[in-house]
């Protein structure tokens, strides 16, 4: 069980309020991702849930019971840190055993759980090594192993993949996803990378300056961002945001159109000069200038498109997929 509820939670450091009153419910078994630019308070929020920071006011409930002043160890949560925070002088086995040793789990049970965790995480051959002798991905798995053996109500991940290289990151992303499917335990995952958020989450919480901008499933956020911030943050490459005449024609202050919803056509309503064309093989990202709409309009074309720097191009947006926003930046439906 691991339902976590935040009720009117605030956090201030001195006079600076980093988390204004905030309500959020994370259901049991959910994979919830906190995403936002750096400094938006997502790590602070995670540390508040973990109990490493005390909340200034409000309440944190874990499975319905108030845990606001419970010390971190007794909240039944396990955390994976950005730096992994492995104990360098202990072998992998002793690292994984440490939380159980502190909890007084019998030795035989400890060994059983270590074996199981090592098997699940491909660490069996490394149990007697020190963390210093492991690669980044292996250290990451040890940190996860140390969290698993506690059989926590929920896992907390604080940007766990940011120290890995791109290839490993994709691999670990899948492994964590698999792990969640297998354990069905609540997981809260903090990241600044919207790709991680989109690929892993059941529920995404978009944060800006401590405020929740929107909560929803990845596709909900993609299909109907509630405001300009979410619109610009979710999706890669970023949504084109256009102001002025073209928006006024749609009765909006700003309109947004995703790069993948603009087609390269023979004759369309918009036209411009291709600047940089990024050929990825599967897709081509065109940065189109001189459209009269915005400085650059990004377009996702097919991989085989033969356009180069300086070519003239004609574009057609898919009218039904245009997002409209008012002067306050809120969505108009």
């Amino acid at each position: 069980m691991g339902q976590i509820t935040l009720e009117q939670v605030t956090k201030s450091f001195g006079d600076v309020q980093v988390i204004p009153p905030l309500d959020l419910t994370i259901e049991d078994g959910e994979f919830c991702v906190f995403v936002g630019p750096s400094g938006c308070g997502k790590s602070t929020l995670l540390r508040l849930i973990a109990g490493l920071e005390d909340i200034s006011s409000g309440a944190i409930r874990i499975d319905g019971t108030d845990a606001s002043s419970t010390p971190p160890a007794r909240r039944g949560l396990a955390m994976v840190f950005q730096s992994y925070a492995l104990y360098p002088h202990m072998s992998v086995r002793r690292n994984i055993a440490f939380p159980m040793k502190m909890a007084g789990v019998p030795k035989a049970e400890q060994d059983k759980r270590i074996e199981a965790a090592a098997k699940a995480l491909n660490l069996t051959d490394y149990l007697d090594r020190r963390p210093g002798q492991l690669s980044g991905g292996q250290r990451q798995r040890v940190a996860i192993g140390r969290a698993i053996v506690r059989e926590p109500a929920a896992f907390l991940f604080d940007e766990p993949l940011s120290n890995l290289d791109a290839a490993l990151r994709v691999g670990m992303r899948m492994e964590i996803g698999e792990l969640h499917a297998k354990l069905k335990t609540t997981m809260i995952y903090v990241t600044h990378d919207q790709v991680e958020a989109m690929t892993m989450a059941d529920k995404i919480v978009v944060l800006r300056a401590g405020n929740i901008e929107q909560v929803g499933s990845p596709l909900e956020l993609y299909r109907s961002p509630r405001n300009l911030f979410v619109a610009g943050f979710i999706g890669s490459p970023k949504m084109n945001l256009l102001e002025g005449e073209v928006a006024a024609a749609q009765n909006a202050h700003t309109i947004g159109i995703r790069p993948e919803h603009i087609d390269v056509v023979d004759s369309g309503p918009w036209s411009g000069t291709v600047g940089v064309a990024e050929h990825l093989g599967s897709d081509t990202f065109l940065h189109v200038h001189d459209t009269g709409l915005a400085e650059t309009v990004t377009v996702r074309a097919t991989g085989e498109v033969g356009l180069r720097h300086g070519d003239r191009v004609s574009l057609a947006p898919r009218e039904d997929l245009i997002h409209r926003f008012d002067a306050q930046g809120l969505r108009i439906d």
Partner: protein, 288 residues
């Protein structure tokens, strides 16, 4: 210029410094070795020729030898234990955020800058004096009879004085080690359910292991040769004669350079045994 040439040029340039340092070390060492085999009594006839191993046997068989070795070990060991235990505690304390941190840290280091002779005099006259010392006043305040520190518990007194001098050094090195500990490790341990005490034994202490061995090594080397503190306070009386002090007495008070030099050779051997022993521990600890 090719690497080979610049390398030999570098050797040539370094040669004067190396030769000077080598001479600095080798000349006294050779002289000590030379005198240790001579019967040399400056006020009683000067150099009286070869003595063979007489000086060496006389130095070891003298009734003062073993007690002096014992005193040396007690003082060195006592100071090491006190400075390391208190040093760890002080380092943890100074690592806590507090008001006036900068000033407090400077004050903690201050005793290290006081010359040994001066600090021994200060302790002898201002703290340990049986009639006017601060400690005597303190004792009387509680209705107890003041202790005549330097005659009743002379070795303890010297250990106290020397510990006071060396505690800042230990604290400073251990404080930098404490500060280099990754905060996330402590937080991880907290999440893992470790109490403050187990966090200390399982996380902080192993992290400090390397710094502690360094303090141990450096302090041992310096503590084996403490002299001023004994000279100023007890003058070697009441069983506070260390090996260093015994050598001093043989050479200057008994005016027997040969005998003293033989003691010096023993001291060199002892220091090297300790150094090799410590190097092996340190090496083992530093390898990780």
């Amino acid at each position: 210029m090719a690497t080979q040439h610049s390398r030999s040029a570098a050797r040539l340039m370094m040669a004067p410094a190396v030769i000077l340092l080598l001479g600095w070390m080798l000349v006294p060492l050779t002289m000590t070795l030379w005198f240790s085999f001579r019967r040399y009594l400056p006020l009683r006839g000067g150099d009286l020729g070869w003595a063979g191993f007489d000086n060496f046997t006389r130095f070891v068989t003298s009734s003062a030898f073993w007690p002096s070795v014992q005193t040396t070990l007690v003082i060195v060991g006592g100071v090491l234990v006190i400075t390391i235990v208190l040093g760890v505690l002080l380092a943890l304390l100074l690592d806590q955020p507090m008001w006036g941190q900068g000033i407090v840290r400077i004050l903690v280091i201050a005793p290290f800058f006081v010359m040994p002779t001066v600090s021994a005099l200060v302790w002898k006259n201002m703290f340990m004096d049986p009639t006017n010392g601060l400690l005597a006043h303190l004792w009387r305040f509680f209705g107890a009879d003041p202790i005549a520190w330097l005659s009743e518990v002379p070795t303890t007194s010297i250990v106290m004085i020397v510990s006071w001098q060396w505690l800042p050094f230990a604290t400073l090195i251990l404080l930098t080690a404490v500060q280099s500990l990754d905060r996330e490790q402590l937080e991880a341990a907290e999440m893992d359910g470790a109490s403050p005490l187990s966090r200390f034994t399982y996380i902080i202490l192993p992290h400090l292991g390397r710094a502690i061995t360094i303090v141990l090594l450096i302090q041992t080397i310096f503590l084996l040769s403490i002299f001023a503190e004994i000279f100023v306070t007890t003058g070697g009386a009441f069983g506070t004669r260390t090996l260093t002090y015994l050598i001093f007495q043989r050479v200057l008070e008994s005016q027997n350079v040969g005998l003293g030099s033989a003691g010096g050779v023993y001291a060199i051997i002892l220091a090297n045994i300790v150094a090799i022993f410590l190097m092996r521990i340190v090496g083992k600890n530093l390898d990780r």
